[in-house]
């Protein structure tokens, strides 16, 4: 039987959810207007006052916030509570420019940990479980979030943080950890290490994994599930909104339930800002309606996904989001088709190859061309020319069915794709438009 951490909230009727959202949004807009001059100015520029926002149906009137706003307002510009009411900060890894610093009151920490607790229970966790948190602890939200959620559920919590894989495995085995929380790539690494140690899935006590904080594919899920003998659940979140647990997967494993009593989700056309209906792919936008210290209204996540209000067999009523397909920054439009480098990566990984590739887009005779450079790997190579050509065509076919367009695949020498600071340069767009 399906269990819930907060059943009355997680299975609330749509009417109830809307009623909560209406009331909380109105209150939150007023809180922000009163305490965040940065956002108040944005509202004033649109000729808005809090009176214009009477419920969720008015949400679309509010201005967006973007990552650029967060950088501009660093560090205190979006803070909505006096610092004496704040008890914690967390911070993003900040790949470009300034870091994002998010503030929390004790109530903010509580709601965040509740969200993580819902995710753990949805993954089958209870106070009978031993939950190993192998996300990094510290400024990164992964460790603290799941740690707090695990406490709330009543699991025995092992705060290993990331790294020292042998010790991770020792704790899993000696203390009978049943739930593992970490990034999917670290889970894959732990699985790989266990396999090398000759451990079979039934010698590993784990039964579930809660993996997030980076993009991962269905293939990767199946792999990790098989090697560790677990069911693997996706979890989604952003430091800007609290951390992991903004949404989480249930037993159906067909999308992540967004905690709608705390966050209102919209999907918009990244070009026009227009709100899109269920099922249409666009940029995910969140409004946090309960957070006190760092309440973001209509925050553009840059993640591309779809929403679904379809009834879920798990009984939860909160809207589901698909696994993000990529970031708006990475999206390419080629011959009118949206293409994400991550889709190319999925095709290559599916065929058992590495993820060293580069997309070269050009325009020849008014038509876009896509050339995918793939670094040759020992797995892809044989002495037989025909066989290598066949494997190359297989990649072309895989790309055609994934992207809906024909790409040229060029096999190139290992390590020949330009790298910048250790990361491969994924896209070269030579189109002059």
């Amino acid at each position: 039987m399906e269990r819930y951490y907060q059943p009355e909230i997680e299975t609330a009727s749509r009417e109830q959810l809307t009623a909560w959202q209406n009331e909380r949004l109105v209150r939150q807009v007023k809180h922000v207007w009163d305490n965040v001059p940065y956002y108040r100015k944005k509202m004033e520029e649109k000729g808005l006052t809090p009176d214009d926002i009477r419920g969720v149906e008015d949400l679309g009137k509010l201005p967006f916030l973007s990552k650029a706003d967060l950088r501009e307002a660093y560090p205190y510009g979006l803070l909505a509570e006096p610092l004496k009411n704040c008890v914690r900060i967390q911070s993003t890894s900040g790949t470009t420019g300034k870091r994002v610093v998010a503030f929390y009151t004790q109530a903010d920490i509580d709601l965040w940990e509740d969200c993580c607790a819902r995710a753990i229970v949805a993954a089958g966790g209870s106070d009978e479980d031993v939950c190993q948190v192998s996300y990094g602890y510290g400024l990164f939200t992964g460790g603290p979030g799941l740690n707090g959620g695990s406490h709330k559920v009543g699991c025995l919590t092992i705060p290993t943080s990331s790294g020292n894989t042998e010790r991770q495995i020792m704790f899993i085995r000696d203390l009978n950890a049943t739930i593992l929380c970490c990034t999917p790539s670290y889970a894959a690494y732990i699985a790989e290490t266990m396999k090398e140690m000759g451990l079979t899935p039934d010698e590993i006590p784990l039964k579930a994994g809660i993996f997030g904080a980076e993009a991962w594919s269905e293939e990767m899920r199946r792999d990790v599930e098989k090697t560790l003998g677990i069911k693997a659940f996706d979890i989604y979140g952003l430091t800007e909104l609290s951390g992991p647990g903004v949404s989480f997967e249930c037993s159906a494993q067909t999308g992540m339930h967004i905690n709608e009593d705390h966050f209102i989700a919209e999907v918009i056309d990244p070009e026009t800002g227009e709100v899109l209906p269920d099922g249409e792919q666009g940029e995910l936008v969140f409004t946090s309606i309960t957070k006190q210290a760092f309440p973001l209204l209509r925050y553009r996540t840059r993640d591309i996904c779809t929403l679904s209000h379809e009834k879920c067999p798990c009984g939860r009523t909160h809207v589901k989001m698909s696994k993000p397909r990529g970031r708006t920054d990475d999206m390419l439009i080629i011959r009118g088709v949206n293409v994400f480098p991550s889709q190319v990566e999925t095709v290559l990984l599916n065929l058992g190859y590495g993820a060293n590739y580069q997309l070269v887009v050009d325009r020849v005779n008014h038509t876009d061309t896509l050339d995918v450079l793939v670094e040759m790997t020992p797995e892809m190579f044989t002495d037989n020319l025909g066989e290598v050509s066949r494997r190359q065509k297989q990649i072309v076919e895989g790309l055609r069915s994934m992207l809906g367009l024909t790409a040229k695949v060029t096999l190139v020498a290992p390590k020949s794709i330009a790298r910048s600071e250790g990361k491969a340069v994924r896209v070269i767009d030579r189109r002059k438009i």
């Binding site: 040759m376 790997t377 020992p378 892809m380 190579f381 044989t382 002495d383 037989n384 020319l385 290598v388 050509s389 190359q392 060029t410 096999l411 190139v412 020498a413 290992p414 390590k415 020949s416």
Partner: protein
């Protein structure tokens, strides 16, 4: 009785073959045979060397994707119909040749030929049966 061929992936662009040959030459790798297969997009260099392990290490170090494949090598009688006789022995045994190329053997014997076939054991048997002398990797190492 096999010889080990090293196959190397090459991009099809000017200079890539030269760069690889140069790497081998600089490290003193002694090549006995060389053949190139290519499409418009990439190429595979096939090399027979005296010391397979050393050559493989040199290529690995230089970052080349390559593989080592056991092939059949035979001394082809330097008489009219010598190659025909060899090929028909393979044909009669039902062994398919995927590719083959020649290289210079000893002064007395003339040409050596390497064959990439579907079944090495069967090919060895067929050629020995037809009186064709097989060449081993050890012999190349001398």
């Amino acid at each position: 009785m096999n010889v080990n061929q090293i196959s190397v992936f090459l991009e099809n662009r000017p200079g890539s073959l030269l760069a690889m040959v140069r790497v081998l030459a600089e490290k003193g790798v002694d090549m006995r045979a060389f053949s190139l297969a290519e499409t418009s997009e990439f190429g595979i260099a096939r090399v027979i060397v005296r010391d397979v392990e050393a050559a493989s290490a040199v290529l690995r170090e230089a970052g080349y994707v390559h593989s080592v494949t056991p092939l059949i090598a035979a001394a082809i009688p330097d008489t009219p119909g010598g190659l025909e006789q060899t090929l028909s022995a393979l044909n009669d045994a039902g062994v398919n040749v995927e590719y083959m190329y020649a290289f210079v053997g000893s002064r007395q014997e003339g040409a050596y030929m390497v064959f990439r076939v579907t079944d090495n054991d069967k090919a060895c048997e067929a050629l020995s049966g037809a009186g064709v002398r097989l060449v081993s990797q050890e012999e190349l190492e001398q």
